[in-house]
């Protein structure tokens, strides 16, 4: 037996060979940068200068920095509000699409469009929709007689926060709706028939049939949604660049501003790494809190 023939029969050798290209790419461009990022967070590295180990100094500075605190608040607010709306609207849309309707395939295909086109480009459209002088929303509201002056969507702090959240919800609803629709389609109609015979109202059917059976997929979908909302960058960068007065800066945009525009690599890396505990907490919550409820397997909740 030659060496090659022996390798073909060994699961471990062959497995190693098959894994090698993927492992190499991921180790060099994912694992190593992750470690390097953690290390950079403990240094005062600048662009073009390696930097010295300064321990927790970056984190101490950032903890006292008003802009960073504001960015943390913005990120939590943005993530929470956008995720709640994405979930509610997405679930509603999924339930509508799960009804016996005409042109279902067409609806489903068209609804995903906001999710598949480049976010940076649709963000430009939102930027134009939110323009202070030529906003189409303001125009329509003025014509309807609801407001007198044009709304400055991106000029004041809370307007801007709400405006970017709406853009984010617009982009995220299709993803939530289509994945939840896939979950809804796995629920057998016989459950609804049985509960209807027992006299359940539509609300009771939703509460006691749909929701329990949908919870596992909701947990996964919302984990992904929260994860990507929390680390969002494109929408903010294109629509507001963090303004006005840092009111819409998220952790990701602030870390880009400090590290790439400002050159403070160490500080930027520290902001980016500071997101990790929140992401882990979110994954853990979904994994242990929602995913494996005993009653879904027929047992009782502890």
């Amino acid at each position: 037996m030659t060496l090659i023939q022996r390798m073909q029969n060994s699961r471990n050798a062959l497995g190693f060979m098959f894994m090698l290209p993927a492992a190499l790419l991921l180790l060099v461009f994912l694992t190593y940068p992750l470690g390097l990022g953690t290390y950079l967070g403990f240094t005062d590295a600048k662009v073009g200068r390696p930097g010295q180990w300064i321990g927790l100094e970056n984190y101490e500075y950032l903890w006292g920095d008003a802009v960073t605190r504001l960015a943390l608040f913005n990120t939590l607010f943005y993530t929470f509000v956008a995720s709640v709306f994405k979930f509610l609207l997405g679930l509603w849309l999924a339930i509508l699409l799960n009804k016996n309707i005409r042109f279902k395939t067409f609806f489903r295909a068209v609804i995903l469009l906001p999710y598949i086109v480049p976010t940076a480009l649709s963000a430009i459209a939102f930027w134009w929709i939110y323009d202070s002088q030529f906003s189409i929303i303001s125009w329509a509201l003025v014509k309807m007689g609801l407001i007198d002056t044009y709304i400055d969507f991106l000029g004041s702090e809370w307007n801007a926060r709400i405006a970017v959240i709406i853009a984010n919800v617009w982009r995220g609803v299709p993803f939530v709706a289509i994945t939840l629709l896939a979950g809804l389609q796995t629920i057998s109609p016989s459950y609804y028939e049985a509960s209807a015979i027992d006299g359940a109202t539509p609300w009771q059917q939703f509460r006691h049939v749909t929701m329990p059976l949908l919870t596992p997929i909701i947990a996964v979908v919302m984990t992904f949604s929260v994860l990507f909302t929390f680390t969002d960058f494109q929408l903010i960068y294109v629509i507001t660049r963090g303004g006005p007065l840092n009111a819409t800066h998220l952790m990701a945009t602030l870390s880009f501003q400090r590290a790439i525009s400002g050159g403070a690599l160490g500080e930027g890396a520290a902001i980016a790494i500071a997101m990790v505990p929140f992401l882990l907490a979110c994954v853990m919550f979904s994994f242990f809190g929602l995913q494996r409820r005993a009653w879904q397997q027929g047992g009782t909740d502890k």
Partner: protein, 292 residues
């Protein structure tokens, strides 16, 4: 898949819904969703053909265009580097998608079917890698790219996009390979086929839908990528389309809304076009990616 059997049965009790009730409770909200979700695209399209005079006047109806013009498209295609950005995006997306797909096929097959020592742990770490967002990686990755001498080249993107494409494709393909009966492979092994022949002649032909799903999804992901392209590329002729439109067409205080919207529309059309042919594959890729 179980969803298909449920779908054919989904008529269920819907015959009880009256037509008028259904119109108000189903079609009306659905129509409202459709209008809101599609309005930005309509607005993009109508703005891109509006002459500047109409664009900047408050008279008339802004929802319509009286004298459509292609001057914004002309300006975009002949007076900016737009065609170059488009070419860069196509090149980077296609190459990184194919590289990731090829690499992922081997990885997924090894994890799912070869069951080498530690394959379970490797599978789990692939899933964890899938959850690492680009916005916590781009700073150290910029460092790596710079040290490898790839800064401001297409290679920087071709080599870094697989960091989010490989975990995704591998995870999706693992699911597809799992659905192929192991007996087929055992038969082939008994008939004297080696692992390479099994992969090429049995597993891959059966996994074609999975390959298309992963490929389409990976292509749109790399077409839409923004933060890496923004960070690793500095010269105008190397930029990708989303970054080029955002950074080069926005100049000074007077925004060129016409060319901007034309650029956004032209940049969205290719993905929308490809997507329209592969909707089912795309949806199955998306729903497959969140399944465990």
């Amino acid at each position: 898949m179980s969803s298909n059997t449920a779908q054919s049965d989904t008529v269920g009790m819907s015959f009880l819904d009256s037509t008028r009730r259904k119109a108000v409770l189903v079609y009306l909200p659905l129509f409202a969703f459709l209008v809101v979700l599609l309005f930005p695209f309509y607005w993009m399209a109508i703005t891109s053909v509006k002459p500047d005079a109409e664009l900047l006047s408050r008279e008339g109806n802004p929802f319509w265009v009286i004298q459509p013009t292609l001057s914004h498209f002309y300006k975009l295609l002949f007076e900016t580097s737009y065609p170059q950005w488009l070419w860069n995006t196509v090149l980077v997306s296609v190459v990184s998608t194919f590289v990731s797909l090829a690499v992922s096929v081997f990885a997924a097959y090894a994890i799912e079917r070869l069951r080498f020592k530690g394959s379970k742990q490797v599978g789990l770490s692939i899933f964890l890698a899938y959850m690492v967002p680009p916005s916590i990686l781009f700073i150290p990755l910029a460092n790596v790219v710079f040290n490898l001498g790839l800064f401001d080249s297409r290679w920087a993107l071709i080599l870094t996009y697989p960091t989010f494409l490989i975990p995704f494709c591998t995870w999706l393909l693992m699911g597809y390979f799992r659905s192929i009966p192991a007996e087929l492979e055992e038969c082939a092994l008994i008939d004297g086929a080696n692992r390479w022949q099994i992969l090429v002649k049995i597993v891959l032909p059966l996994a074609v839908p999975g390959l298309i799903s992963a490929g389409i999804f990976a292509f749109t992901l790399s077409w839409n990528e923004f933060i890496y392209a923004l960070t690793f590329i500095s010269s105008s002729e190397m930029k990708t389309l989303p970054v080029g439109v955002v950074t080069e067409l926005v100049q000074g205080d007077v925004y060129q809304w016409g060319p901007l919207m034309a650029g956004a529309l032209l940049g969205s059309l290719p993905v929308a076009f490809i997507y329209s042919f592969f909707v089912e594959y795309y949806v199955s890729g998306m729903t497959g990616s969140v399944k465990e």
